[in-house]
């Protein structure tokens, strides 16, 4: 429990992804089974435990601590579990294994639970009490995805992230066979149906690079502005995975229902109305939901636009050339929610450039170019698949706020809020924290320090002087932003030291791009 509590505390205060990975990996290396497996499941949210309610905790605390002192303390600390962890009378400072705490929370009946929790708290020191209570309230909040967990595991031994992704959904905590494999033992045989298969990714390209290649060796299709998914239907089990292997089926029952096939398909998840693919913003309304209501299912119907098959009716097509996989795909009738992304007709790169410059729908964000003979392999090999995105949209905006960064950017103002003119006022339209070089970061920081008008903790308001060119991939209407629009992937593409702030773009210019 002490090691787990120490890990949780470090993770809670560590923002940098690499540092988080390192902390987790070292913990997993140093901790025996089954504790490390339980810890992993707890951190990634895959641990099913009895949820302890705040009122139960309040009741426990009230038996030991004066009401007024408890209330004053809670006001000060602001978090009930933390207040109780800190205020609980000092006990034995014992170090029971995490598995004991997990077992307690898995198996104790409702009537016995308060007593069991109190007895556990009596055994622990303050950090361990907090870790235990966070586990019990299901509220670890350390920002660790299953993907990051797999990266930490891949750092420990031979299996790569892709190998882990493939067996991940057949595993359950505390993952003894998985750790056995990482330690040099046998690969666990995943018995689960509808497993995720590692995805093949493309690399960005441009016309100069393409000119050196023979266009006859490639096929092309539109790049749809949805999200990449893997649709798996296997022996009656249907799952929809994101490209990092997260199971997102629960948010898309309409799509899952329509998956009447037996195989593993690769494609784009989109919202589609009357055959037209809707803007990304519509799809976004459907993402990150635990469940989805009837109204949203009707107003934002989701579907798939497929472009590849990995496995079809029991046969692994991945070693076959792309054109053969496409031939199988194009021969299938999927029904109305699922269709196939059409191939583009082009003779040379200039033809394709012309198509890319004038796509038939706004929701197309460029073209995909794939070698005819490419096998389906995991990862991002350079050569077989390219993405040739449309040029980003740009506006010239004025920097209005800056915030200090962390880690490698400690001491530098690296997070910028920028605005556009509406009348004679600057309205914030977005935030950017990359796109500039290290040398430019120094220049920007110097500008911020010399032009601060007001300070709010780590944030500084700036004199409206500096214009930056902001590049972004798309634009959605947003009720959460004062400007009414939200940019996708905004970054600072150029610093316009030369341009007077009064000549920056107006909000109307941005609205016209919608």
């Amino acid at each position: 429990m002490k090691a787990f509590a120490a890990l949780l505390e470090r993770l809670a205060f560590t923002a940098a992804r690499n540092a988080k990975l390192q902390l987790l990996q070292h913990y997993l290396e140093a901790t025996p089974d089954p504790d490390r497996g339980w810890a992993l499941a707890a951190l990634t949210g895959d641990l099913e435990l009895r949820r302890v309610t705040p009122s139960l905790l309040r009741g426990l605390a009230a038996e030991r601590i004066d009401d007024q002192l408890l209330a004053l303390s809670y006001d000060f600390v602001g978090d009930l579990a933390e207040t109780i962890a800190l205020i609980w009378p000092e006990g034995a400072q014992d170090d029971p294994p995490l598995s004991q705490a997990v077992e307690l929370l898995q198996t104790t009946g409702k009537a016995a639970l308060p007593g069991a929790i109190a007895a556990m708290l009596d055994r622990l020191g303050p950090s361990e009490r907090l870790a235990f209570l966070k586990l019990a309230t299901g509220n670890l909040r350390v920002g660790l995805s299953a993907r990051m967990a797999r990266m930490a595991l891949a750092g420990m031994g031979t299996p790569a992230v892709a190998d882990l992704e493939e067996i991940w959904h057949g595993l359950s905590p505390p993952y003894a066979p998985l750790f056995g494999w990482i330690g040099g033992g046998a690969r666990p045989e995943s018995a689960a149906l509808a497993p995720f298969r590692p995805v093949m990714l493309s690399t960005p390209t441009d016309l100069d690079e393409l000119r050196a290649l023979d266009p006859a060796a490639y096929v092309a299709e539109w790049k749809w502005d949805g999200i990449r998914v893997q649709a798996v239907s296997d022996g009656g089990v249907k799952r929809l995975y994101s490209r990092t292997g997260e199971d997102i089926s629960h948010a898309f029952p309409d799509v899952v229902d329509a998956m009447d096939f037996d195989g593993t398909a690769d494609g784009e998840l989109i919202v589609r109305r009357q055959g037209e693919v809707a803007p990304f913003g519509d799809l976004q309304k459907r993402l990150n939901r635990k469940s989805v209501g009837k109204g949203l299912l009707a107003s934002h119907p989701a579907g798939l636009r497929l472009y590849d098959l990995l496995i079809w009716e029991g046969r692994d097509l991945r070693p076959l050339p792309l054109v053969e996989r496409r031939a199988v795909l194009e021969a299938v009738g999927f029904g109305e929610r699922i269709d196939v992304s059409p191939r583009l007709d082009f003779a040379g790169w200039d033809d394709l450039a012309a198509l890319r410059a004038d796509p038939p729908a706004a929701v197309i964000e460029g073209v995909m170019i794939k070698r005819r003979d490419s096998a389906y392999v995991s990862g991002r090999p350079r050569g077989p698949w390219f993405k040739w995105k449309r040029d980003p949209m740009v506006v010239d905006a004025v920097l209005i706020y800056a915030q200090r960064g962390h880690g490698k950017r400690s001491g530098f103002h690296s997070d910028f809020t920028f605005g556009l003119w509406a009348g004679d006022e600057l309205v914030p339209v977005g935030k950017a924290y990359f796109g500039f070089t290290d040398a430019e970061l120094r220049e920007l920081d110097k500008f911020v320090r010399a032009n601060t008008t007001e300070r709010f903790g780590p944030v500084r308001a700036l004199a409206p002087k500096l214009v930056v060119e902001v590049a972004f991939e798309g634009l959605n209407r947003s009720t959460r932003h004062k400007s009414g629009v939200a940019m996708r992937f905004p970054r600072i593409s150029r610093i316009r030291w030369d341009k007077p702030a009064a000549e920056a773009d107006r909000l109307e210019t941005l609205e016209a791009m919608l």
């Binding site: 205060f13 004053l72 800190l86």
Partner: protein
């Protein structure tokens, strides 16, 4: 004689009319008695100042030799006006003292800031029997139960081993906390050079001259600082100075680090719970031990201490002094 006629709060601070002096006044007064050298207790511009030898020396180092019209070293039992005054160690920082004021058979002890925890850099707190004990309440809630500081430096040492390529920048106030952290590291067997921010040099030199073992300290001013551990005042983290460090782990040594929301507010990656104040068990333990007939509570979370006194059936009241900071910001 009634205690609240001997000492009472005014806008300038605690005032003793029979002795004609203020204790730790927050604005310039004719005659000031100073408990310790933190800048919210020891201010510039008093007519006459009485304090311990070390506190006077610290005041001169920080504010210049002209900080007051005259200085007097507190020594033994002294008569000031119609009251008796004596200074007793408070265990907070070098030179820190409690001030006992006695008149008409009633003794009031003003503890200033104090701690009961062992601190290798200063003389421990001396319990002084009294009728009225005036306590701080910086950490006056039962959630504050500070761990053994050895566990906190162990955390720092473990992090330095976990991230050997990242410099560890620990925020610590210039008077007391910085030297406390350094000497805890030395006690833990860390003997590599420790880099210090320029603002810490004068006081670190003074502590070393007073016999506190700080080991080898090097300046953290060059472009490349050849030390993995760097101690700096917290304000330095917002300055250009910090830009010379590549991917630093930023830590902060303070009692406030016991509460996560406080640590997050600071943007700290490595919170170290190291304090020079009493925590709840030490505070309530001191009140139990001294068993004064009345407790006055100065700055901090008075409500918690007053409630505890109520449960312990000790009369208590808040003094509501203004001008003292949570934990002496330098």
């Amino acid at each position: 004689m009634r205690a609240d006629q001997i000492l009472f709060p005014t806008d300038a601070g605690l005032y003793c009319p029979k002795g004609g002096f203020h204790i730790d006044p927050v604005r310039p007064v004719e005659r000031a008695l100073i408990t310790h050298g933190h800048s919210d207790h020891a201010r510039y511009g008093h007519g006459a100042v009485m304090a311990t030898q070390q506190t006077l020396e610290i005041m001169r180092l920080r504010m210049g030799t002209d900080h007051a019209g005259s200085e007097q070293v507190a020594d033994g039992r002294m008569r000031i006006g119609d009251v008796d005054v004596s200074f007793h160690p408070a265990g907070h920082v070098l030179g820190s003292a409690q001030i006992a004021v006695t008149a008409g058979g009633c003794r009031i002890v003003v503890s200033g800031d104090y701690t009961r925890a062992a601190n290798p850099t200063c003389v421990p707190f001396e319990p002084v029997p009294c009728d009225v004990f005036v306590t701080e309440a910086t950490f006056g809630l039962p959630v504050f139960r500070f761990p053994d500081p050895a566990t906190q430096v162990a955390k720092l040492i473990a992090s330095m081993a976990e991230f050997p390529d990242r410099p560890h920048l620990i925020g610590a106030y210039a008077l007391g906390k910085a030297q406390h952290v350094i000497s805890l590291m030395r006690e833990a067997g860390y003997d590599a050079p420790i880099a210090i921010h320029g603002a810490l040099k004068v006081l670190c030199d003074y502590y070393a001259a007073q016999g506190v073992e700080l080991g080898e300290l090097i300046p953290a001013t060059a472009d490349e600082v050849p030390a993995q551990l760097v101690i700096a005042p917290p304000s330095a983290f917002a300055s250009l100075w910090v830009q010379r460090f590549r991917d630093p782990v930023i830590g902060f040594a303070s009692g406030w680090m016991a509460v996560r929301a406080r640590a997050r507010q600071r943007g700290v990656e490595l919170p170290l719970i190291i304090s020079d104040h009493v925590d709840w068990p030490m505070l309530t333990g001191t009140l139990t031990e001294l068993a004064p007939s009345e407790v006055w509570v100065t700055h901090g979370t008075e409500d918690g201490v007053i409630r505890w006194c109520e449960l312990a059936q000790i009369p208590a009241r808040p003094l509501r002094l203004v001008g003292y900071e949570d934990e002496a910001e330098e």
